[in-house]
């Protein structure tokens, strides 16, 4: 089971940690520790990699770096089994998503399939101005004809072409 080993230099390169090769683990940032964790998980060149909430507690940059490392695993042909509480992460990375509630899978499919089936429709959100439209500096909606206006002067003048 553990006969296969990847080259350490290849692993370090895979997770972009070449510059930190001589650094102590304790001195690495949270994001770099996570990437090192991914590298350690790959030492035996597994076909399936289990990652348990790999981006929890990471700042946005570290999260995106980790996402890129996971995308690279997919490109390498690895099957990545990832648990996450971040739906955005699942939507970004997963080919198949299983939603677990109270220990049971309640839905499974590609992100697109699940969104079409359970996501409902899109919503247009309109935030209104406090003053009535006529009282504001902008032209009324009926008067506003962008195809007849000089775009550089909108919305302060209403010159027509």
């Amino acid at each position: 089971m553990f006969n296969s080993h990847l080259d350490v230099d290849d692993l370090i390169r895979m997770v972009n940690l070449e510059e930190k090769r001589k650094e102590l683990f304790a001195n690495l940032s949270s994001g770099l520790k996570q990437r090192l964790g991914i590298a350690v998980a790959l030492v035996n060149d597994p076909e399936v990699v289990f990652l348990d909430e790999p981006t929890s507690g990471l700042d946005p940059k570290a999260r995106h770096d980790t996402w890129n490392a996971i995308r690279d695993l997919k490109k390498e042909g690895k099957t990545v089994f990832l648990t996450t509480h971040y739906m955005e992460e699942a939507q970004e990375l997963a080919d198949t998503v299983a939603i677990i509630n109270h220990g049971k899978i309640i839905a499974k499919g590609s992100p697109e399939e699940l969104i079409v089936k359970y996501g409902g429709t899109g919503v247009l959100v309109v935030k209104k101005v406090e003053k009535p439209f006529e009282a504001s500096y902008a032209p009324s909606f009926q008067e506003w004809k962008p195809w007849k206006m000089e775009t550089s002067t909108f919305p302060y003048t209403k010159k027509t072409m």
Binding site: M87, I99, L114, I115, Y118, V123, L124, V125, E130, S140
Partner: protein, 51 residues
């Protein structure tokens, strides 16, 4: 309506344009428009319930 904002469910391609025209006809002053597309987050909330 929620917090004074107007929420228009979108079912067809033309719905955005029709909604904007209707706002104009009603002379509703618009500060900001946002289209929220369905997401996996929305799927999770609809299946597992809001907490």
């Amino acid at each position: 309506m929620e917090n004074g904002d107007i929420y228009v469910p979108l079912h067809k391609e033309n719905d955005v344009m029709e909604a904007i025209l209707a706002l104009g006809e009603e002379k509703v002053g618009v500060k900001e428009l946002e289209i929220r597309k369905p997401s996996l987050e929305r799927v999770f909330l609809s299946l597992a319930g809001k907490r």
